[in-house]
Amino acid sequence: MAESFPFRSLRSWLQFLEEQGDLVRVQEEVDPNEDITAFAYKGCRVPNSPSFLFENIKGYPGWRIASQTMYDWQRQAWALGISDPANLAREIGPKLDQRVPPIQVSTGPCKEVKFFAEDADLSRIPFCMTGEFEGIPNLTAGISNKQDPETGWQNIAIRRQGISGRHKFSEYINTSNQDFQIWGKWQLQGKKMPVALIIGADPVACMVTQTKMPVGVCEYELWGAFTGQPLEVVKCETSDLLVPAEAEIVIEAEIEPFERELDGPFPEFGGYYTTLAWVAKSNVKCITMRRDPIFYYLGMGLAPTEGHNIAEPMQAATLYNLLCKQFSGIINVHNHGWYHNIVQVDRRISKAWPQMAQAIGNAVKVAIPYANITFVVDDDFGADLTDYYELMNALHYKFAATKDLTVLHRTTGDLLNPIEPWVGRIGWQDYCTFDLTEKMAPWDECYKRGKAIPGRAARKKMEEGLWDKVVGRK
């Protein structure tokens, strides 16, 4: 019998996927050095690719590695108990204002086995490589928990760690992230910062990390808001950090205030390798896990990847939530490949306010400082915001750059975006808003004459069976 929503563990989620016929168990031996990432890479580039559970890991007999289980909006809709993926932003958006705090339990499956000090050896875990230039494996699927030393706020986020020793790892703490602000406080106090890396959590625990919440909001509370039930968490062995009780693996460490570790090069989500850099260094204190742990590989590198994909619905939901508070007539929001957003508005409102698209574009940039492009479309676009041809059509038929393009020059960017070489620089990039909505008079005369498609009656005939009868397939 299928486990159903909400999924409290990676394994109940895998079981659900298997019962949907969506999970492929891979019996062939795979090497953590790049074999698994090659499956993920191809899986993002062929239609209807399954999610994977690798059951025969070279050098790690008994271990299993899951991957691609959150790739595409359909799987994420299943994980969130939402029937139509196109409604993800609209259904999750309002829930971002709700808080259901986690409940702390005394112990959980993530503590079945505990390794401390010298025993807490990272060479024993099947960390994967994503590319051929990495040198050492990197953890891509670790949910990192860090705590504000002044307020006690715990912030969780998926970060990347370079596994550089038996008992240490590097973490390039991106200066535009909340983690950076938290770590800054610890540094100024000259103190080591406890960190917990959670590997193999349930899918919603992974997804909530991709929302864009203000400082002070612990994303565990969104787990409860999304599912209607509190997340069960347990306290770490070596700190006050809380981790999901049902996680597969937890690595507890401390980030040194003054020491640095060499990091990279890594094939980042910016689509290219980052360079070598001296970044934050963590020393491992303890590793706890299930007795039969399942590791997780989250695809990274050139989009599309599972790493990009899990960010899309949550960023779209974040924007939907914020935009609805500032504008009327917001119909839906889509995020594509992390940096690009499509906002759909009601044309009866946007036509009356010529700068509405521009105002929306500005609001998006405030909410997501590294956003790159925002397309504002209206209901003429159709319901499917993933329709690439509709987007191209809108660019062709609704857009004249001199009046419909707004560029914010030299604004905030992401250091991992290679548009601007980020070595020693700020990561400047330009941001732009494309107004693809129908315009006011005198620019709307042609639209008023009607869309250039077959008549309603003729199209209806097709939908009512003529196509199927003649073509014989759907």
Binding site: R11, S164, W278
Partner: protein, 107 residues
């Protein structure tokens, strides 16, 4: 539950590591040597792919394939550290501690 693997006890494997795991640990040592000698290596090999094993550069090439071909099967793939040495200088990410305290010599 179907997803459990009752016959596997990670603790036993942990105490009896496979050669692969020991090779991975060796790769970490190779990484440490590389990091310690970063400045000389960058001066000499920037823009190249290098292979590090046992405190030595064992192969250099323009691509990873070239390096692996030169290495042959002399070293375990999960132990030797094959890495791109980027053209640009190694970046020191500026952190608040550096603004307030003197950075340690190693950094």
């Amino acid at each position: 539950m179907v997803m459990e693997r009752k016959d596997f006890d990670v603790e036993k494997l942990w105490r009896n590591p496979t050669p692969y795991m020991e090779n991975r640990a060796k790769q970490f040592e190779n990484r440490d040597w590389f990091a310690e000698h970063m400045d000389e290596i960058w001066q000499k090999y920037r823009g190249r792919v290098v292979a590090v094993w046992d405190k030595e550069i064992k192969a250099v090439g323009r691509t990873a394939d070239e390096v692996w071909a030169a290495l042959g099967d002399k070293y375990p793939r999960e132990g030797v550290m094959v890495i791109l040495v980027p053209e640009e200088e190694v970046f020191k990410v500026p952190y608040p501690a550096d603004m307030v305290f003197k950075a340690p010599a190693a950094y």
